[in-house]
């Protein structure tokens, strides 16, 4: 199979990627530098609240913090420093875990979030699309209609509540599954079977809450897409042509409805990311969500900024990857 590259499309997608990063980073810059709050003063106020620190010590602190946070000089200089740091991936040391660099902390936590997200998102997407597709094609099936009601009932509930309910159910009522941590604490990390099994076990509850909420949306959109597509000319023609039902479902209906769903996946990544962060918090999962919340409570400015920026870049990159894979499915891409 020849994979043709569509230069116009690629360029547009890359352009969008750059725009997202640009606006996202500017947004974070705006929030941190253009507000009347001075994070340096905040940190100083927090750390000197309970003692008497000499004015010289405070002044030294102020200087080092200024440098740490990249707040020296006027606004333009701060802007350049901001971008330079992001480009180099250097956010300075974390205050709450001094002197570990923020980048290292994020690097440790990111694989957990990425793994959980990829797994849960793909599972929700596949399950939701499969069930929704079947429900849209076989409109009379009671089982599928019931599945639809359940999915639709769960979907509007925010991730936090579902995670919380699962926590209660499996943590207190029927304690069968581990409700916190990424893996058993005393196990050495590595790619051996015991560790991997433990990781999977600990991922069940967080993944389940993400999947339960996410599935409903895919179910509904796939179901309505399929019931629209079955009225399309090429589906009607295939039925007139006596093509086998199974083949029509796979090759004519699903193959065409999956396209907008892939676009939908890219669009929804931002929202799913939000859900993952809060779910991690509920289950104490060692991803960047927990990192973020901890950082806020500890007043760790660099870490919060680092996580926010990395989140933006990660989501933007994932969207770009999905966009780049899209032409493999839809041969009409450059014609649009």
């Amino acid at each position: 199979m020849v994979v043709s590259f569509y230069p116009a499309y690629l360029l547009r997608r890359l352009g969008q990627f750059v725009l997202v990063i640009f606006i996202g980073v500017n947004l974070t810059f705006l929030i941190t530098h253009a507000t009347p709050i001075d994070p340096v003063e905040q940190t100083i106020a927090a750390s000197t609240a309970f003692g008497s620190t000499s004015p010289e010590a405070i002044e030294t602190m102020r200087q080092s913090l200024r440098e740490l946070y990249g707040l020296e000089g006027g606004l333009p200089q701060q802007y350049l420093v901001f971008w330079k740091r992001i480009a180099l991936g250097d956010f300075g040391p974390s205050l709450s875990a001094f002197p570990t660099p923020v980048a290292v902390l994020i690097w440790r936590a990111l694989p957990w979030t990425a793994g959980l997200l990829c797994f849960a998102t793909l599972l929700a997407w596949c399950l939701g699309n499969l069930l929704g597709g079947l429900a849209g094609y076989h409109r009379d099936s009671r089982l599928l209609r019931l599945a639809g009601v359940v999915a639709m009932g769960l979907h509007p509930i925010p991730y936090y509540i579902v995670a919380f309910v699962l926590l209660i159910v499996f943590g207190y009522l029927w304690p069968m599954l581990p409700i916190s941590g990424g893996a058993q604490i005393n196990l050495p990390r590595g790619f051996d079977l015991r560790f991997i099994a433990s990781v999977l076990l600990h991922a069940i509850l967080p993944a389940m809450s993400l999947v339960l909420v996410g599935m409903g949306g895919w179910f509904m959109s796939m179901r309505s897409l399929v019931s629209n597509i079955v009225t399309e000319d090429y589906v009607t023609y295939a039925e007139l042509g006596g093509v086998a039902r199974g083949r029509i479902l796979r090759s004519y209906v699903m193959r065409n409805t999956v396209l907008p769903q892939v676009t939908g996946l890219a669009i929804s990544l931002g929202g799913i990311f939000n859900g993952a962060i809060i779910t991690e918090q509920v289950f104490g999962y060692p991803g960047i969500g927990t990192l973020l919340v901890g950082a806020v409570h500890a007043g760790d400015y660099s870490l919060v900024l680092g996580v926010a920026t990395v989140s933006i870049v990660t989501v933007a990159t994932s969207v770009l990857l999905i966009d780049l894979a899209y032409p493999l499915l839809d041969p009409r891409v450059n014609a649009r």
Partner: protein, 319 residues
Amino acid sequence: MSVLAVANLRAYYMTNAFGVARAVRAVDDVSLTVGRNEIYGLAGESSCGKSTLIRTIAAATHPPLRVVGGSVTFDFGGRRVDMLAGDVGDIRWRHLSYIMQASMSVLNPVRRVRQSFIDFAHRHIGGPMPEFLATVRAHLERLHLQPEVLDAYPHELSGGMRQRVTIALATVCRPDFIIADEPTSALDVVVQKAVLTMIREIRRDIGSSLLFVTHDLAVHANLCDRLGVMYAGRLVEEGPTADLLHAPRHPYTMHLVAGLPRIGDAAPKPDLPGAPPNLADPPTGCRFHPRCPLAMDICRQEAPAMLGDRHRVACFAVS
């Protein structure tokens, strides 16, 4: 020996939404037959029920369209098939195929044309894939199409080319009966001519019967052996094309024929008063009577039957 026999067919769109129940009587008591190797044309203005009729004949009805009465029977060389009985899957494409309007995208947009041929025809023609594809290529060449179209995606072909490929697809299994729904309507005259030539060649080559629906009387004159005129869900006149065009008997047919442009005739064409009826609430009796210059009292009360031998008319004033 007729290949297709339609008897007293009634098909309505029954809807009930938001407290309003309606029955749109799109096909109301239609009877016709099509013989072997015959091209039967179906003429009439938009929303007269032509498309519903052929959809019902092809057993492609989905709710809210429902067959309320009548029968549709095919005879494929001795094998009788009742289209309304249910499972007619195995005759599709092998004995009965369908050509849709040119503007419709009937080929799967995410698959190459080759795949459509495989999906539709392989189960009938059979054989290992290379042989099957060779048969398809030979068929395409016979119809003066380049075999390279098999490798293309539908959106890469022009509208006219797509239509010709669809016709090739519909005829690759050499069916006994082909239903054509406005195949030339969205095409320019040059491509129209190519399509009509193609259809004539197919008829000569395979000997299929054709049920050809179009509102364009000129195409009917060019192609069809017999012609049926529909108005508001009913057949009003039927007969050999030459007879109908030179000596139409039903007032509606006369109006249609009078409206045809002829070389050298510069007189303005007369207009028909009124508008086509609302099929959810059609006029009583003969449905044409509100617009008919020959309307009599009986026309309001009773629906006229189709009377005649080879040339049939449903009109009290004429029979």
